[in-house]
Symmetry: C2
């Protein structure tokens, strides 16, 4: 692996070190809004093939970087590869989202789960990480990721996307100890999986707690936050003589930013329903902040995108510790040129906002 990193803005900002311009990457920056992604998916035949064949995963990871001067690559994969490796049988149907052939239906199903060895059952992911690092050749850092235990458990118990989360919530309120058993197993699986990604070359890692926001405050702390903290405590924090920053993101978790910051992570992702200036006042002295433009702004005209990006930068204010991102993934209907306008605007507008310049 090439240890030289030509653009280290992301890693510096995640550690609240000075940077020349605010780094930007976008959740789902490699995805359906790109025609070259849709073409690749059509050729590969299925979404799972894109994830499971390292050449495809690498090609798709790099697609947005060929178009836009983004400051990071993020591994192309899916949060549900871990439960798939645990034997649940993942598939994706067009328009319907993910589905497990063998969802968890009993305490016995849960007791039977084992922690996969990432170099065996998830080797295709680690091979993709190694290949992407080689292809990136130090141009920008590579972010690895996983779903949070609570979010993965939600899919594992519901079997697919859910409108009312009846099964997982029934488990939570009626059999909390069974749910804790599941969450502990998944947290251990996520920890070794992310450590595998770090060993393979991921230079930062992010945990997506997509469904933490559906929980009541006490339930969030007990069933999601505690396992995020368990993961943070178990992760490799240094590789290639660099700190490996950890980003935690609970969508809809604006009320719990202090709790997320207290886990020991380096950065907290913030969705667009939170005022970024308020988030900074609350936790900005302890962690970096990543976010938080409403993804729907990308439907607007370029000058309006620019104005909204300026507002996010102003909300954060001057000084280090901000990684620009959307508050959630890019929506499939977005015109790629609008994404280009956003990336250019963030770099240009933030150049004047850095009081003490880095490197």
């Amino acid at each position: 692996m090439n240890a030289v990193l030509h653009n280290d803005r992301l890693l510096r900002a995640l550690l609240r070190q000075p940077v020349d311009v605010t780094p930007i990457w976008l959740m789902r920056q490699a995805g359906r809004y790109l025609p070259e992604y849709r073409a690749a998916r059509a050729r590969a035949g299925s979404f799972m093939a894109l994830c499971q064949i390292p050449d495809w995963a690498c090609e798709i990871t790099l697609q947005p970087l060929a178009r836009f001067p983004l400051d990071a690559a993020i591994l192309f994969s899916d949060i549900l590869t871990v439960p798939d490796a645990m034997g649940l049988g993942l598939s994706f149907s067009d328009g319907e989202g993910p589905r497990f052939a063998r969802p968890l239906r009993s305490a016995a199903d849960i007791a039977r789960l084992a922690v996969p060895d990432p170099e065996v059952e998830l080797r295709y992911v680690l091979d993709a990480v190694r290949l992407i690092r080689r292809e990136l050749d130090g141009c920008v850092p590579l972010i690895g990721f996983s779903g949070s235990p609570w979010t993965l458990a939600t899919y594992m118990v519901e079997g697919s996307s859910s409108k009312d989360y009846a099964r997982i919530k029934a488990l939570l309120y009626d059999q909390p100890s069974v749910l804790h058993c599941l969450l502990d197993t998944v947290a251990r699986a996520v920890t070794v999986y992310l450590n595998g990604q770090i060993a393979a070359g991921a230079q930062a890692v992010m945990v997506f707690d997509t469904w933490g926001g559906i929980l009541a405050p006490r339930a969030y702390r007990e069933f999601s936050l505690a396992y995020l903290a368990q993961i943070v405590a178990g992760l490799t924090r240094e590789a290639e003589q660099r700190r490996v920053p950890i980003i935690l993101f609970t969508k809809g978790g604006g009320a719990w930013l202090e709790d997320l910051a207290a886990t020991g992570c380096d950065a907290v992702g913030v969705d667009w329903t939170v005022d970024l200036g308020e988030a900074r006042r609350r936790i900005g002295s302890r962690v970096a902040l990543q976010g938080n433009l409403d993804p729907a702004v990308l439907y607007a005209a370029p000058e309006r995108i620019r104005a909204q990006a300026a507002q996010v930068l102003a909300d954060f204010g001057t000084g280090p510790g901000h990684i620009f991102n959307l508050g959630h993934g890019i929506q499939p209907g977005v015109d790629p040129d609008r994404v280009g306008a956003l990336v250019a605007a963030v770099h240009e507008l933030s150049r004047s906002r850095q009081p003490d310049r880095g490197t």
Copy 2:
């Protein structure tokens, strides 16, 4: 109309006056979880018939009161009756939710909208209110309701339920003045509609801002909150020699409770993602609070429902100003007996929590 109200706990609690026990009603208390509701819907042939024929609307409104000692009735209707009366052509397909035959597709569509006369285009709703009041005979108060302008506009522009709100958000970010025109028209329509309900006998009114929580903070204040405040300012505040309390509820609006309280409403609905004690510390000196049990608790065993209800009561603490409710509507798969267990638990547990008793 019978001016005597035998159980006035709800109205007293909404005005932060002492009560003997904490009043409870439940969002969607008349709904699909009740077998008698499903039977009525099958006989009526469609959901719209249930709303549009006052005898049906009255029967369904009263169904949960025949089972449980709830402290209020809420008009059985739908938030989308207003846009339907504006000519958009509402229908409901099983499992798919609401759909408009003529969604708003241009600024010209929006400019053409007129404010319906509730005694003409929405007479069926007001007739239902009058009939329900007669049938209730002062047993408990009747709550009227409407959707918020932002929430109604979302459906009117999207045409149906939406996953990513692409159309309404594009309008918001690209043509804000067109959206303001729509929201102003809808706010005026909602105001006369709710005043019509109050004149017909509604003793409290609630505005449901179901989709306010998808907005960024500035957008929430500009496109949802401002129109909630406009409605509050335009409502009849007294009828039958009593104050008519106004309840505002933005689902996912936990960050903006202070803004909601500052509109001049009497009570704020709180979803289950907010700690009710914290909500009380923030706004409890100005308004009553309604909420906020996670609806999924109703999947649990009765003793666990009781424990969770006790927690909500403890979170609020002693003293007046609490109306027990779920944080969102009852889910269709819930066993009615669990609802009965909740209502009994709230009344029993709260009896000892009232330091100074009312009437």
